[in-house]
C-alpha cells in the first residue's frame, strides 16, 4: 500500500502557513515527565540528605535501583493495557503464580538454566495474558470484569497449587540468588535488565505502526473499528504483553526476595494502576508514554523504601504513601493546567 499522497492540486496550494510555534509549545505542554523526574530527584536527594547511606552506600544505591524494578516492569505492561482503554487487574495474581512456577521449576528440574526458567515464566505469564486478551476481545466485554475474574481465579489456582508449600532458598541455584546483588559497572543487574524492557516497549509503542494502534484503539474504539484496525489483535497483544511482563516480574521477585508463597503479588494491581496514572497515562486510554509510567513506578517504589529511612513512624507510612500519590497526581495536574493556560495565551498573542 503506497503511503505517498496522490492528492491533486486543483488550485495552487496556499502557502503552508502552519503555526510553527506550536511545535515546541505543545511539546512543553506534554512534558509531564519533567515534574516527575524533579520529584524523584527531590525525594532521593532529600532522603539521602537525611540519611547518607540511602544513596551513598553500595547497598543503598543497589536497592534504590533494584527494589522498584518489579513494580516498574509490571507497571509498564499495565500502562500498555491502559493505553488501549483496558485494564489488567490480574497482574498481581499472574505474577504470584509465575513466581511459584519459576521457583518450582528450579526445584523440580535440577540444573535447569536460569534463562530457560525466565523464558518459561514469561511464557506462562503471556499465556495467562492470552486468555485475558482472548476473553476480552472475543466476548467484547469490559476488561475490568474479565481481569477481576481472573484476579480471583488465578489466585485461587495459586493457593490450591502451592498449598502448604513455599519456595525454599535452597531450591534456587546460587547463581540465581546472586542475580539481585550482581552489578555491572556499578549498576545492578536487575536494573540493567529493566531499562531495555522499558525502552523496547516505549520504542515499540511510540515508533512502530503496531504500537501506535494501541493508542488509536484506546483513543476511540469505535473509530478503530470504522478505520479497519484489527481491534481484537491489538487487545490480545496488549494483554499478552502485560502478562509476559508480569511473568518476568515473577522471576525478578524470586531473585530479589529468594522466597515466595501463594500470596506473592497481592494488591499489586492497584499499585500498578497508581504508578501508571502518576506516570501520566490517561486512565481513559489513548495517551501517555510508558517510560513515563516507568518513572511513576520508580517514584512509588522509591517512596516505599524512602519513608522508613526518613524516620516516618512505621504505623503512619501507609498514610504518607497515600498522601504522596495524591500529591503527585495533583501536582502533575496543576503543572498541566498552568502550562496549557500559558500555551493558550501564547497562541492568542502569536
Amino acid at each position: 500500500m503506497t503511503t505517498t499522497t496522490t492528492a491533486p492540486t486543483p488550485t495552487p496550494a496556499p502557502p503552508a502557513a502552519v503555526k510553527a510555534q506550536q511545535h515546541w509549545l505543545e511539546r512543553v505542554v506534554r512534558a509531564r515527565e519533567l515534574g516527575l523526574a524533579l520529584l524523584i530527584v527531590a525525594l532521593v536527594a532529600g532522603t539521602s540528605a537525611v540519611n547518607r547511606p540511602f544513596l551513598f552506600s553500595s547497598d543503598g544505591w543497589r536497592s534504590l535501583l533494584t527494589l522498584p524494578t518489579i513494580l516498574i516492569v509490571v507497571a509498564v505492561g499495565q500502562a500498555a493495557v491502559i493505553i488501549t482503554r483496558n485494564i489488567d487487574l490480574s497482574v498481581g495474581s499472574t505474577m504470584g503464580l509465575c513466581t511459584y512456577f519459576a521457583g518450582n521449576l528450579f526445584h523440580q528440574v535440577s540444573g535447569i538454566p536460569t534463562v530457560v526458567v525466565v523464558i518459561l515464566s514469561i511464557a506462562l505469564g503471556a499465556a495467562i495474558g492470552l486468555v485475558n486478551g482472548l476473553l476480552v476481545a472475543l466476548l467484547k466485554v469490559p476488561s475490568l470484569v474479565i481481569t477481576l475474574g481472573m484476579l480471583y481465579a488465578i489466585r485461587g489456582v495459586d493457593v490450591l497449587w502451592v498449598g502448604g508449600n513455599f519456595i525454599r532458598p535452597e531450591w534456587l541455584p546460587d547463581s540465581f540468588q546472586k542475580l539481585s546483588t550482581a552489578e555491572l559497572f556499578g549498576i545492578p543487574y536487575l536494573f540493567i535488565l529493566t531499562v531495555p524492557v522499558v525502552l523496547v516497549v516505549s520504542w515499540y509503542l511510540r515508533n512502530r505502526r503496531g504500537g501506535r494502534e494501541f493508542y488509536a484503539l484506546g483513543s476511540d474504539p469505535d473509530a478503530a473499528v470504522l478505520y479497519g484496525l484489527d481491534t481484537r489483535k491489538i487487545t490480545v497483544k496488549a494483554f499478552v504483553l502485560s502478562g509476559a511482563l508480569a511473568g518476568l516480574a515473577g522471576t525478578m521477585y524470586l531473585a530479589i526476595y529468594v522466597s515466595g508463597d501463594s500470596q506473592v503479588g497481592t494488591n499489586l494491581e492497584f499499585e500498578t494502576v497508581a504508578a501508571a496514572v502518576v506516570g501520566g497515562i490517561a486512565i481513559t486510554g489513548g495517551s501517555g508514554a510508558v517510560w513515563v509510567a516507568a518513572l511513576g513506578a520508580f517514584l512509588l517504589g522509591t517512596i516505599n523504601s524512602a519513608l522508613p529511612v526518613l524516620g516516618i513512624p512505621s504505623l503512619w507510612q501507609q498514610a504518607f504513601v497515600g498522601a504522596f500519590i495524591l500529591g503527585a497526581i495533583a501536582l502533575d495536574r496543576a503543572l498541566f493546567v498552568t502550562r496549557a493556560r500559558r500555551a493558550r495565551a501564547l497562541r492568542s498573542h502569536a
Binding site: K140, P142, V278, F320, A323, L326
Partner: protein
Amino acid sequence: MTSTATAAVVPPSTGVRYQNHAAPLWRRLLFRSETILLAALVVVILVSSAFVPNFAEPFTYSSMLLNIAPILLLVLPVTLIVVTGEIDLSVGSVLGLSSAVFGLATQAGLPVGVGATLGVLAGTAVGLLNGVLVTVVGLPSIAVTIGTLSLFRGVAVGMLGTTSITTFSPSLTDAANALVGSSPIPVAVVGIGILAVLFGYLLHFTPFGRGLYAIGLSPEMASFSGVRSNRSKCVLFVMSGFVAGLAGIYYTLQYDNAIGSNGYGMELQVVTGIILGGVSFWGGRGTLVGALIGSVLIGVLAKALQLGGIGSDGTNVVTGVVLILSVGIGSLARIRTRRRRPKTSEAA
C-alpha cells in the same frame, strides 16, 4: 406549562404514534441482566438447599446476610458513583477510618452516640475530600481513590496503633447482630433495605438520577444539558463517605472491634458485586437492584461452597469464573445472532 409560544407553533404533527418500547414487556424483563442474575440466585439457592448439607437452615441465611451486610451498605452509594462513570475504591478504608474514630472516641469515654456521630462525620469529611479532588481539582477518580485508599487506611492504622478497642457495650453489639423476631433476617438488613429504597429512588426516579446517567453516558452532552456534573459527583462522594462512615460504626459493633484493618480489601468485593450486577464500569448503564443481587449472589455462592467443604481458594476460583461467565454468556449470545453470513442471490 402546555400552551406557551413554542408548544403552539410546533405542528401537532401528523399524529404519528410511537411505540414506547421496541420489545414487549416480557422480553424486556426476561433479557435483563437483573432477571438472569435473580434466576441464577434462585437456582444456586435451590441447588444448594438440595445438595449442600446444612444449607437449608435459618442460620445459613442469617449468618450469610450478616457477613455481607457491610458490603451491601457500601454497594449503595458506590453503584451511583459507577453510574456516573467514576469509581470509589476508598470505601473500605473509609469504613476503617470511621471505625477507628468511633473506637477512640468510645475509649476516651465519650457517649456512644457522640462517638458514632464523630465516626460518621469523619467518613463524610473524607468523602468530601475525595469529591473535591475529583471535581474541583479534576483528577481521575480511580487514581484519587487508589491514593485515598492508602491514605485513609494509613490514618486509621496510625491512629489506633497496636491497640484494638473492644470495649463496646454488649447490648449494642448484640443489637448489631440481632434478627427480626424469629426470622433469619437481621435487623440491620431491614435498615439497609430502607436505605436501598432511598438510593434506588434517587437513582431511578428523580431528575438528579437522570442526570447521573447522563454524566455516565456522555459527560460533554450532560454539561450541554444543564447537568451539574461536578456538583452531582461531589454529592455522591460525600454520600459515599457518609454511608461508609455508617458502615464503619455498624461493622465495629458487629464484630465488637475497632481495629485498623477493619474493611480491608472490601473495595474489591464491592466492585465485584456491582459489576456482576450488570452495572457498566464505563457509566450510564445498570441498576441498583442488579448491583445488590450481584453482591448477594456472591455471598450465597461463598456460603454454599464453604458448607460444601470447598475452601476459600476454591471459592476464589468459582467467584472468578462466575464473574467471567456472567458477562460471557450474554455476549456469546449476542455474537451468535450476528454471525449470519449474507445470502447471495446469484452463484458467486
